[in-house]
Amino acid sequence: MNKEVVLRILFFMLLVLLQVLVFSNMRIGAYVPYVYILFIIIFPIKSDRTVFLLSSFLLGLSLDFFFSSGGVHAAACTIIAYIRPQALKFSFGRSYEFQTIKLNKVSIAAKLAYFSILVVIHHLVLFLLETFNLSFILYSLKSTLFSSIYTVLLCLVLVTLFSKRKE
C-alpha cells in the first residue's frame, strides 16, 4: 500500500477521534462544530471518485455509530461528496478544470465560498434529517446557520495552520 493511502486512512481516523473527543465538546450554546468534514473538503481532487464517495460515506457512518444517530451523518457526507465537483467549479472557476488548485494558494474569498457551500449543505441535510419532522424546521435552519459559521471558521483556521507548517 502506498504512503498516500496510509496517510489518508490515518487522517480519517484522526478526524473521527478529534470530532468525537474534542470538537463535539467545544459547544457554544447548543451549537457544535462538525469539523470532521474537513476530510471531504480537502480530499485530493485528482483521486478516483468511487473511492472518494465510498470513503465519505464511511466517514459519516463512523460518526453515526458514535452519536447513535442512524444514517444522518452518512447521508450528509455522501451528498456533499457527490456535489463537490460543482462546489469546486463554482468557487475556483477555471483553475479547477485544469486541476491545479492548491488550497493554500487560492484567494481567501474563493476558499471561504468553497468551504461554506459544502459545510452549509452538509449541516442542512444533517439537521433536517436529525429531527425528521417539519415542525422543527426553524430549529434546523437556525442550527444550520450558527453551526455552519462555527464549523467554517474552525476549518479555515485548521487549514491555515496545517498548510503553514508544511512549508
Binding site: 468525537v20 464517495l53 460515506f57 444514517g71
Partner: protein, 269 residues
C-alpha cells in the same frame, strides 16, 4: 447488452451515490422508528470502549459532586429504612418487584433534539431494551439499545420520548414529552381540566410504567389551560440536572413480563 453495461459503467458514480444515499436514508428512517433492532448505535465495544476510557479522565473532575450525592442518598435511604422497619414486618421485604442495576453514564448529551446517552452496562449485566434509567434525583430515560458491555439510553430529552407520569397528590395521569427546547424543562400532556394542577406540584412516575411508581420526576413551573380549554399545557422542571448525571440505576421490572403477557396473550410484542 454491451451498451447497457457501458452505460452503467459510465454512470457508476451516480449509481453508487444513489445506493449510498438510500442506505443512509434507510438507516435514518429506521432510527426514527420505535422498537426495531438498530444497527447503528454506540452500544458496541469500539465506541463504548472509547467513551469509557475518556470518561475515566473526566470522572476525577466530578468526583466530589458524586460523593456528595451518594452521601445524601444514603442519608435519605437510612431514614426511610428506619421508618420502614418500625412500621412493618420483615416479610414485606422479601418480594421486591424491582431490581436496580448500578451503571455509569459514559457519554452524555443534552443539546440536541435526539439525545442518546451511553452507559457502561450491557446484556452481560442483565440489561434489556425498555428498562428505565433513574438517578437519585429523578428519571433519565429508557434503554434503547443493548450491546454486550454497553447500552444506549433514550433520554427524556428526546423528541420521541414519552413517559407515563402522574400528579403526586391526586394520581391524575399524563404523559411526559419534550418539545426540544430547554434541557431543564419538559412538558406534560393529557392532563384534563378537572385535575387540580398548580405550580410547584410534584410529578412522579405513573402506575403502569416501566419505572417503579412514585419516582420523582420534577415540579410544575407552568400550568395553563390550552386553547381548547379541555387540557392543561404544563411545563415541568426536572429534578435531575441532565447536564451532569454521573451514576445511574437501571430498573429491572420483574413483574413487567407477566403484565405484558396478560395484556397481549398472543405473545408477540
Amino acid at each position: 447488452m454491451q451498451q447497457v453495461i457501458s452505460y452503467l459503467l459510465k454512470k457508476k458514480n451516480f449509481l453508487l451515490f444513489i445506493l449510498l444515499l438510500s442506505i443512509s436514508l434507510a438507516l435514518t428512517i429506521q432510527s426514527h422508528s420505535y422498537h426495531k433492532g438498530k444497527f447503528i448505535s454506540a452500544a458496541n465495544n469500539v465506541t463504548g470502549g472509547l467513551y469509557e476510557s475518556v470518561n475515566h479522565v473526566n470522572e476525577f473532575v466530578n468526583l466530589d459532586t458524586y460523593n456528595e450525592r451518594l452521601l445524601k442518598e444514603n442519608a435519605k435511604l437510612r431514614k426511610e429504612l428506619s421508618n420502614y422497619s418500625f412500621h412493618s414486618t420483615s416479610n414485606d421485604l422479601k418480594e421486591v418487584p424491582y431490581a436496580f442495576i448500578p451503571a455509569k453514564l459514559i457519554e452524555n448529551s443534552f443539546h440536541k433534539k435526539n439525545n442518546i446517552l451511553v452507559i457502561n452496562k450491557g446484556a452481560k449485566h442483565g440489561i434489556t431494551i425498555d428498562m428505565g434509567v433513574i438517578t437519585t434525583d429523578g428519571i433519565v430515560g429508557i434503554i434503547e439499545n443493548v450491546g454486550e458491555n454497553y447500552s444506549t439510553v433514550l433520554s427524556v430529552l428526546h423528541i420521541q420520548s414519552q413517559i407515563n407520569v402522574q400528579l403526586k397528590k391526586t394520581n391524575h395521569i399524563g404523559s411526559l414529552i419534550w418539545d426540544g427546547d430547554s434541557p431543564f424543562k419538559v412538558q406534560l400532556e393529557d392532563i384534563t381540566k378537572v385535575a387540580p394542577i398548580k405550580v410547584n406540584d410534584t410529578i412522579v412516575t405513573g402506575n403502569y410504567s416501566i419505572f417503579p411508581q412514585g419516582i420523582s420526576v420534577g415540579k410544575v413551573v407552568k400550568a395553563e389551560l390550552n386553547q381548547t380549554q379541555n387540557y392543561f399545557d404544563v411545563d415541568v422542571q426536572l429534578f435531575n440536572d441532565m447536564s451532569n448525571i454521573g451514576y445511574v440505576y437501571v430498573v429491572k421490572n420483574k413483574a413487567l413480563k407477566e403484565v405484558n403477557q396478560l395484556l397481549n396473550p398472543s405473545g408477540n410484542e
